[in-house]
Amino acid sequence: MGSSRADAGAPAIALAGVDKAFGAGAAAVAGLTLDVHANQFVTLVGPSGCGKSTTLRMVAGLVAPTAGRVAVRGRPVTGPLRDVGMVFQSPVLLPWRTALANVLFTAEMSGAGAAGYRSKARELLRLAGLAGFEHRYPHELSGGMQQRVAICRALLLDPSLLLMDEPFGALDVMTREKLAFELQRMWAATRTTVLFVTHSITEAVLLSDVIVVMTARPGTVRAVIAVDLPRPRDAKTLSDPRFVELAAAVRDNIESQWLD
């Protein structure tokens, strides 16, 4: 998907020497250079406040960099992108809409109208394990279910890029793990390019093709770790020696900064 629109050879996301400072304060991101290839699941991990969310927002075109270049599929990002799905830490559902109508929100905002997407939305909800909950209001759903609706909403228009800013950050550990496996399953069906932000090393190793460890503020790339674990990954993967090794490598890269 999206390949026809891509410039041949251009990475899905290219950040080159990107700086971002808010007002006169210290930089949030400095000298960030990073390429994300199409159809890969790439995760940003790093200490709190290292500019992971800011990076995501710059890619989406919601925030402009102070210096440097941000390009998506070879085109410089100058304003809010279309064709991008976004999931935040909080589900931000519309309380007056049912689960189904919330998923259809992106279709209505795009101007395409809800009618043509109704069956797609139902299918996504079914994939997310929410069959039978289509007509429930957000306050009738658990936190995990609300976040699944938010993910379905982000996937509805088949975006060629999915940005996820700590989507499971507000959930309990058990729900979190379950949703990570479900996200992997849904992602396997589409293989959309994903840029994912998390604090959880386990989540990063479990989901990603590539993990980018960032330094403390101002954030920049400290290490890029390729995750070569076979897919689909399941609960057994968590005890795989290679999984443990990769998780340790990510942890070392984060914790060694404590000494710097």
């Binding site: 976004m86 209505e108 905002m109 306050h139």
Partner: protein, 254 residues
């Protein structure tokens, strides 16, 4: 349903206790009937004057509802201006706050000078009293949208117009319902005060003329009929809210 019947029963019991105390209390304490007539006398007077009551109530209801409708239109438009044209907020807010601190009742005589003894000063007072709560609540409802949600809508291609119709307006509806419930009794105060100071129609006029005649039961009867109007108005808004805003978390079954 059983809970509803029980609550209705409790409310009726409470009302009955108040009525019994009201009927017997003043007699036992020796308060004369022209100071505090019993509920029986009030009911009789209400029945005797039912036609007049309804006629004056109609006038009061009309000026109140027109004033309220104007307050709704102007309040929402002002809120839209503040939400969409940022610089306006800095200019408009202090002016409105200053205006709101004038006791509107105190400028009522001015309206009589300007607009005479007809319906206009009553409508204007009802409008002014209802305006502020509607404006403030609309501003909150239209303006306070989670930034993440607005980002999401824009990334999906949402134009300002679509965001207004599908996000801001929907978000504002429960705030507006609450605002109308507050503004309705206020607008009624505006109408009644307008009727006190001039003219010969409306419940305010009826109460005042009953006072001149020392017809205390009629004063009370008028109070009963105007209370019924308020209850009816707020009940209607609540009913509308219940039907249209089913999703409201406050409507959740606890």
């Amino acid at each position: 349903m059983a809970g509803l019947t029980r609550r209705a029963g409790q409310a009726l019991l409470g009302l009955a206790v108040v009525l019994v105390l009201w009927q017997l209390g003043p007699r036992l304490l020796g308060v004369p009937a022209y100071i505090l007539p019993g509920p029986g006398a009030v009911a009789v007077r209400l029945w005797q004057t039912l036609g007049v009551q309804l006629q004056h109530l109609g006038h009061t209801a009309a000026t109140t509802v027109i004033g309220l409708a104007l307050a709704l239109v102007v309040g929402v438009l002002l809120a839209l201006l503040v939400v969409y044209v940022r610089p306006v907020k800095a200019v408009l807010m202090p002016a409105l706050a200053a205006f709101n601190s004038i006791p509107k009742i105190a400028i009522a005589p001015l309206f009589v000078i300007w607009f005479g003894l007809g319906a206009e000063p009553k409508v204007l007072l009802a409008f002014l009293l209802g305006l502020f709560p509607i404006f403030v609540n609309s501003m909150t409802g239209l303006g306070e949208i989670e930034p993440d949600l607005l980002d999401l809508a824009r990334l999906a291609g949402g134009t300002e117009w679509r965001i207004f119709g599908k996000v801001r307006l929907m978000n504002a509806l429960p705030y507006l319902a609450d605002a109308v419930k507050v503004a309705f009794p206020l607008a009624l105060v505006g109408s009644v005060v307008g009727e006190f100071i001039g003219g010969n129609s409306g419940v305010g006029y009826l109460i005042l003329s009953a006072q001149f005649n020392m017809d205390t039961p009629l004063v009370f009867a008028s109070l009963v009929s105007i209370t019924m109007l308020t209850t009816l108005g707020i009940g209607l808004v609540s009913l509308l809210e219940h039907v249209l805003l089913r999703w409201r978390p406050s409507r959740r079954t606890r």
